[in-house]
């Protein structure tokens, strides 16, 4: 338990929230920006990422509490902290973790020197976790039902999904003309472990008739379902092995397979007025390896024991009745999960023409470059309940010919003051970038409700450097 918490805190230090990569989006001096928009206006002769270091990102977001709220060494009783968090949270509060690690990536231009068609490819590993805060279950566990006569404890509050997967992808984008860039990316997903419990319903109810002191009307109506893939064998007694090692192996070599695609566009209304849009991870995984589904479905009304004096009868057990009414069933059906679909869009206005102080580059026509860009971005992501929405305004500036910064200000359900900063530079052929989110929270990361961090190293080769 402690280990898990330590790892989570380390992730906290490195990371931010949902999968919105608002700093990376349309930051085209970073080749990885084509992972959030395959139609991004990225150009290179060829590039490759430094294996395992080309794209490292982690995001953590937790609406209802921060690490500080729970673990601050401030003398407040831990149980009081838990109670405070449960009381002030809502069942729509989300805790999200997303982590990605690019194992390798690369890209090259296809066709001759005049061509503006590019291929990019790679493999990355991803971990995804989303849980809604199970408020009613929390209240029931903390307080019991005595002080909540008449309340329905909603089992729908149990809502989570988690997945470890690897993604093999290949993309193509083409600058069709001076105004339009189109791109797409095909993906093969290989899921090493999946747990999905997002369609629960039912309630636990205790009622009482007016005027009676001791007769309760107690009902449990349950429609709970937990689907797992790649996990069941770890829960068996005879399992002897390393769970982390086996999940890693399954993720890359023995996973449940799926297919998906990304698509994107960049369009210049004018040379300095640009529109982009992309849709990422439209795809599914057919969960088929080591699958196990647990269900608790049924209706049980508990009245207590009721002796019958008039005839002899077999003593029955109320607890057995419960197990009969709401049995635990195990099913072995394959199931399909849909990847969370992400949608991005941006509008960007550029100004302040760049004047090169370098020697004249006389190799043909050079497009105009601008020093500054401002604009807005929209992010949407599908979730088990309402979609997640974020709106970002940004400012981008080229400090030097090959050093760009981007600052963002994002509004979303986690934070109304999420400031992000990104730097991307190229020294020779060596491209390095670092993006952080929620800069204000770095004053004390333990108090952050969401943090994101992303960095990477690439080698990028352009024509002009030949």
């Amino acid at each position: 338990m402690k280990k898990v918490l330590c790892i989570l805190t380390v992730l906290f230090q490195l990371a931010s929230f949902s999968q919105n990569k608002e700093v990376l989006y349309n930051f085209t001096s970073i080749p990885q920006s084509s992972l959030v928009n395959p139609g991004a206006d990225v150009s290179y002769k060829f590039y490759f990422g430094i294996p395992a270091l080309s794209g490292v990102s982690a995001n953590i977001g937790s609406k209802s509490f921060s690490a500080y709220d729970l673990f601050a060494n401030n003398g407040v009783d831990f149980n009081d902290k838990v109670r405070r968090i449960v009381n002030r949270s809502s069942n729509n509060d989300k805790t999200q973790i997303n982590q990605q690690l690019e194992l390798f990536s690369g890209g090259f231009r296809v066709g001759g020197e005049e061509s503006k068609s590019y291929v990019s490819f790679g493999v990355y590993q991803e971990f995804d976790f989303l849980m809604y805060f199970p408020k009613d279950i929390g209240v029931l566990a903390l307080d019991g039902n005595r002080d909540y006569i008449g309340k329905l404890f909603n089992l729908r509050d149990v809502n989570l999904r988690a997945e470890v997967l690897s993604v093999f992808h290949i993309g193509f984008h083409k600058k069709v003309n001076e105004k339009l860039v189109l791109g797409g990316r095909a993906k093969i997903y290989s899921s090493g472990a999946n747990a999905t419990s997002t369609k629960n319903s039912g309630y636990i109810y205790t009622g009482k008739d007016a005027g009676t002191a001791n007769v309760y009307n107690q009902i449990i109506s349950s429609d709970l379902e937990l689907k797992t893939s790649g996990i069941a064998s770890f829960t068996k007694d005879e399992y002897e092995g390393s769970i982390a090692g086996d999940i890693a192996h399954n993720t890359f070599f023995n996973g449940s397979l799926g297919l998906g695609f990304d698509a994107g566009i960049t369009y210049y209304f004018k040379e300095n007025l640009q529109f982009t849009a992309s849709v990422v991870d439209v795809g599914f995984i057919k969960q088929s390896k080591d699958i196990e589904t647990l269900t608790y479905k049924g209706y049980y009304e508990y009245e207590g024991v009721n002796p019958i004096f008039s005839d002899t009868n077999e003593p029955e057990n109320v607890f057995d009745d419960f197990e009969k009414a709401i049995p635990r069933d195990t099913l072995y059906n394959k199931y399909t999960t849909w990847r969370p679909v992400k949608f991005y869009s941006s509008m960007q206005y550029s100004f302040g023409e760049y004047r090169s102080d370098a020697d004249c580059n006389c190799k043909g026509k050079v497009g105009r470059r601008y020093l500054n860009s401002v604009g807005g971005q929209l992010f949407l992501m599908t979730m088990p309940r309402a979609p997640f929405t974020a709106f970002t305004v940004f400012y981008k500036r080229s400090i030097l010919e090959k050093l760009d910064i981007k600052a963002t200000y994002t509004f979303d359900s986690f934070s109304k003051k999420n400031i992000g900063l990104g730097v991307a530079g190229t020294i020779g052929k060596f491209n390095i970038y670092a993006l952080v989110d929620n800069v204000l929270e770095y004053k004390d990361v333990t108090k952050a409700n969401s943090l994101a961090f992303q960095f990477g190293l690439n080698f990028v080769f352009q024509d002009s450097e030949d």
Binding site: N145, A213, Y216, P307, F319, L403, V436
Partner: protein, 184 residues
């Protein structure tokens, strides 16, 4: 622009982030302090016996008996976490005879661990719900409850005018428990 200057700019860009990032002192051992103390209420037992059930072929039955399996508190969850239980019983008698209700808790060997006696006077024309003293199970008494596998009900009728198949009224029992848990 020399490499040197570019490197400098990187340093300027990155180092502040390292320095402004701090963290408060956290103590993860607090997880060990977690202790949930929920309080649950639930029905225990109930019956509603009409007067004519105390007769058999016109003959009065002075004693009625039944038993039910009741091993809920023997389950590991409760033996580990139940720290106190209050049992509340209510009776309502509309039969013109007094009754004694004995609740017997049995262990696996059919030994009686505990007897709870509820006295109900004969009906005299005014409905009367009797709330009996709360039985509190703590300490040793609670340990006995955690060995219980069966609950027996013995209803003994007091003397009075004989009952027959047409006798009016009924004897009602309602009981509920308040369970105090401490889950670590």
């Amino acid at each position: 622009m020399g490499l040197y200057l570019k490197n400098k700019i990187f340093l300027f860009a990155f180092f502040p982030l390292l320095f402004i990032s701090c963290s408060s002192d956290l103590d993860f051992d607090q997880v060990d302090d977690l202790k949930l103390k929920p309080v649950f209420v639930a029905n225990v037992a109930h019956f509603d016996v009409p007067a004519n059930e105390f007769t058999d072929n016109g003959q009065e039955q002075l004693i009625a008996f039944d038993e039910k399996e009741f091993d809920v508190f023997k389950k590991k969850f409760f033996t580990d976490n139940l720290v106190k239980l209050e049992l509340d019983c209510e009776t309502e008698n509309t039969i013109a005879r007094a009754f004694t209700i004995d609740l017997l808790l049995f262990n696996e060997n059919d030994d009686v661990l505990e007897t709870i006696t509820l006295e109900t006077p004969a009906y005299s024309g005014n409905p009367d719900v009797i709330k009996h003293t709360t039985e509190i199970f703590e300490g040793q008494r609670l340990d006995l409850l955690k060995q219980t596998v069966k609950i027996g009900f013995v209803v003994t009728m007091g003397s009075g005018a004989p009952l027959d198949e047409n006798s009016q009224g009924s004897l009602k029992l309602q009981s509920g428990a308040t369970a105090y848990l401490e889950i670590e």
